[in-house]
Symmetry: C2
Subunit: 331 residues, 2 copies
């Protein structure tokens, strides 16, 4: 039996709350500590969720010897700094998506994991859902032939104010990194890294994209069409197709419980694949198993793939003119 | 009451057969004549469907004074010639899609209708289906807000041989004009004519596209993503979305009986909207009504829109290098 994985949470925002709630369904892990810039926020969070230790600041969490893994749930533009800090302190790390604002930063984070011989993973939790796993196994079993045509979208009409996180260039805002990361992770899973990208976007008044539509083409001849939106309540479906049929994941592809196998001349096969809670515990169970097995990289969400997805997003951002404040600092 | 519309069918191929079968459900029309290059084919077709007159050649059908409307079901590259011939003989015309191989030819066909004061329509029959009409009325009623995000695809894995019609450049082959015309007609209906197009394609050994993926952008800021395929059995869904939700038409968007209204925070509303036969009679009923009312252009599938769709397809063809033999003749 593997030992219980002791998890510290860096951050107290909405996704941190969701992960801690979800962790109740993962018997392999225990949330033992939380950190926040403000002691009061950390204490309040710890009390609400029954967490033993509340630290002021990430450094104290990094120094907590009774933490095996840190879940980094800070703001997008702080992931790079925080992930490297925790890795250098000897922790394993699960980093909330988007993993980094660009591929160069992701490469540095991966190098930090390697030099410290620690486990690191991009928290693309949807990939661990029964529905996503079912699509994967249908494709692997040849249900549709070789996948070559993919389309995926995720979008909603945001009511976030102009100065909110979602629309703040300083904090890595925009629909591409917030919503688009899911359809891009879906496409990458089945088609790998594209050879070429073409993207168009509606850039809002704060300089981030309200909607981005991309076409990705692959050396294999495959095509993917991807869309993310803050402005429109998209149906948010995902499809992967081959010569023998298509598989649909919808609605709300990032947390879907419904998979439809469509083949010409046959009735659709609809499967409902529920999960407990909000589903965020599934990635924790996976991470706990990886670490227990001595792995440093997840076979389901490998770091090389995280890097490839970010290279694709970098190319899209260059085309649509989505620049982050951190980009300027890099020049 | 309007008089019965007497219809002649130019061509005896699969779509001509489908239209004649469908016409049994349109009491406003009667199929009274058929023409084919070969007398035997015309006679066989007439006998099979109980049609009174079988003509050898389009000229004899054009001279048939007891025909009000000709349904042009010849090969794609012959539509231009045949439509002009029937209009000049004083017939109203319903022309099978693709209406023409390019916008320039379509403009000549429209000019022929105008100079002869005859009715002319692009046979985009799907637009008359209860499901398509339902999507239209939901959008018009504001169910999703102003439509700005659209994706639509239609594709199948073709078993047509390399020398078959679908892959013959001489006959206007390729997935774009064969399957793509449906998602393009869907996009045009809600978003109008795009300002810019971007297309990528897999061009097969005969020089036509096996699969084409397009992004269309509009002056309004709207985005559409469209795909057609001969190589992959796509799920063939269509979505139109706005700030308040999305509407889905699937599966097999071109002949769908299923409309789903998806709005965040509400249960999906699924409607099943069946139709009689193959649905091809619905456009005939519409055409009969237009002609009875003295119209020369359909308010549901106007000629100006047909022209706009073909301009879009022209731009896409230029990008993907899909050239027809008739293009060379035009130089």
């Amino acid at each position: 039996m593997s030992a219980l994985l002791r998890v510290g949470v860096a951050g107290t925002g909405r996704i941190a709350q969701a992960l801690v709630s979800g962790a109740a369904f993962a018997p392999e892990v225990r949330i033992v500590a939380v950190s926040s810039r403000h002691q009061a926020a950390a204490t309040e969070f710890a009390q609400r969720y029954g967490i033993g230790r509340a630290h002021q600041g990430a450094d104290r969490l990094a120094d907590d010897d009774d933490v095996d893994l840190v879940y980094v749930a800070s703001l997008n533009h702080l992931h790079h700094r925080d992930v490297c800090r925790f890795l250098d302190a000897g922790k394993h790390v699960l980093c909330e998506k988007p993993f980094a604002l660009d591929a160069a930063k992701a490469a540095e984070m991966i190098a930090a994991a390697e030099r410290n011989d620690r486990f690191l993973m991009d928290a693309l939790w949807s990939r661990f859902l029964p529905s996503w796993q079912r699509v994967r196994s249908l494709v692997d079993d040849g249900a549709i032939g070789a996948p070559r045509s993919l389309s995926a979208e995720l979008g909603f009409a945001s009511t976030d104010p102009p100065h909110g996180r979602l629309r703040d260039r300083g904090q890595g805002g925009g629909s591409l990194l917030d919503s688009g990361i899911y359809p891009h992770a879906f496409a990458s899973w089945f088609l790998g890294e594209p050879e070429r990208v073409h993207a168009v976007a509606d850039i809002g008044p704060t300089g981030v994209d309200d909607e981005t539509s991309c076409t990705l083409t692959y050396a294999s001849g495959a095509h993917a069409q991807i869309r993310s939106s803050f402005r429109d309540a998209l149906a948010s479906a995902a499809f992967v197709a081959g010569p023998d049929g298509a598989i649909e994941l919808s609605p709300r592809m990032h947390r879907s419980t419904r998979v439809v196998l469509r083949r010409l001349g046959r009735d659709d096969v609809v499967e409902t694949l529920p999960y407990e809670g909000n589903g965020l515990h599934l990635q924790l169970t996976h991470v706990a198993r990886c670490i227990a097995e001595g792995r440093r990289d997840s076979p389901v969400m490998p770091l090389a793939e995280t890097l490839g997805i970010l290279r694709t997003l970098d190319a899209i951002r260059a085309q649509i003119g989505l620049r982050y404040d951190t980009d300027a600092q890099d020049q």
